[in-house]
């Protein structure tokens, strides 16, 4: 009996001291949760993706961006056969090479654009090897632009780390045309740059609706702006989901959660990929951590929650086709990262 008690109490003591808080606050309530099961798309061994983070599909060409590549950052595949077609954006320090890529945007002509945050350049990539890419050096007043989207043929939308405004509009020469909106004010006074680091967000703009969506990586806040009317439509989760951080020597060190990692503003809905993993848990047990999120939060264009999809695996980025009701996700934890999901918005 005594031995039993000793074992029981030891177990109790160990369990109690091992517990940690999971910072996945329920800041958003969705009317329903729908489970989705993915279908793997097998890539041949010719291309090894280390950390695929962005995916786009246009005209049966699949564009996959790998942020920790050894050679090329962007790979093109024939989506029907998953045969590798070509690769773009070679890693390197030379003028035509890249120190990193943040996103892929494809314009109406089917041309591919990317952003190199480390070189502070937006680059128009040519698909043919002999063509020269066109580089737009961003104005030096912008600090570390980490995402971009196209407002129209000649203007880009960019967030950055200056923290004075939420976004800037830059022209095809990289000059700032104007700024818009503000980072939601914190409860305590904080440096603008640190605040901007903590509020680092991914963006998506729908030119047909004039709507810009921004999703925080280090918190659970979704901002919806009408760029045609220059108005805020809704900021969801500002009170309960604001990024948590500490200022360490003028840098924001995140202490809350990994929030969103991708967003898509469609014709009818806004889709945001949510992780919800706490940094506390990641630091303590990185071997248990799976990169990516299993939740796709769906809102209408006014910001009302519609539903959330619960995925069968963790993904880091997605491509949404509202018309075909399909989603392509990137499972970085798998050797076959490209996964297709079918959903029904009825």
């Amino acid at each position: 009996m005594k031995i039993f008690a000793v074992v029981l109490f030891m177990g109790l003591g160990f369990t109690v001291t091992s517990c940690s808080t999971v910072a996945t606050a329920e800041v958003m309530v969705f009317p329903e949760t729908v489970s989705l099961h993915g279908q793997e798309k097998t890539i041949e061994d010719s291309v090894y993706l280390r950390y695929p983070f962005r995916v786009r599909l246009q005209d049966d060409v699949l564009y996959v961006m790998d942020i920790h590549t050894a050679a090329y950052y962007i790979h093109l595949f024939d989506y029907k056969t998953m045969q590798h077609k070509t690769s773009l954006a070679h890693r390197g320090a030379a003028p035509q090479e890249f120190l990193g890529t943040e996103n892929i945007r494809i314009d109406e002509q089917g041309d591919v654009w990317t952003l190199d945050a480390n070189k502070s350049k937006i680059v128009h990539l040519r698909k043919q090897g002999d063509e020269q890419s066109r580089q737009i050096s961003l104005n030096k007043d912008l600090i570390r632009t980490l995402d971009f989207d196209r407002l129209n043929d000649s203007v880009f939308i960019v967030p950055d780390y200056t923290g004075q405004h939420r976004i800037a509009f830059v022209n095809a020469q990289g000059d700032i045309l104007k700024h818009a909106f503000q980072i939601p004010p914190p409860t305590v006074k904080e440096s603008a740059v640190v605040l901007a680091q903590a509020w680092r967000s991914f963006i998506s703009y729908n030119p047909h609706q004039g709507i810009l969506g921004m999703a925080t990586q280090l918190g659970q806040v979704l901002e919806i702006y009408d760029l045609e009317q220059d108005t805020v439509i809704k900021i969801i989760g500002q009170e309960t989901g604001a990024p948590q951080f500490v200022n360490r020597g003028g840098y924001a060190v995140p202490t809350g959660i990994m929030g969103y990692s991708d967003i898509h503003v469609g014709q009818n809905h806004i889709y945001a990929l949510f992780w919800g993993s706490s940094f506390d848990d990641i630091r303590k047990r990185p071997e248990d951590h799976k990169e990516g999120g299993r939740y796709v939060h769906v809102f209408d264009l006014k910001g009302n929650p519609v539903r959330q999809y619960l995925l069968d695996r963790h993904i880091t980025g997605f491509h949404i086709d509202e018309e075909k009701e399909t989603m392509i996700g990137l499972d970085v934890n798998s050797n076959q990262p490209v996964v297709e999901y079918a959903f029904n918005m009825e």
Partner: protein, 70 residues
Amino acid sequence: MKKYLMLLTCCVAIGIAMNVSLQFRFDSDKSEITLGNIEALAQGESGSGNCWFRASVDCPYSGDKVLYVE
């Protein structure tokens, strides 16, 4: 009753000690851990702090994409 109370205190103390010991060992092994496709490298060490493992969080010290920042 007093005996049981003492025993309980001892057990909780042992539990705490075991957990601290495991966490200490784990921290010292950070650079050895492999996370599937995620490389276990400390990145962006600076006077202010460190960034750990290659992943998708922007390291404010170096600009690398990492798992977490300290």
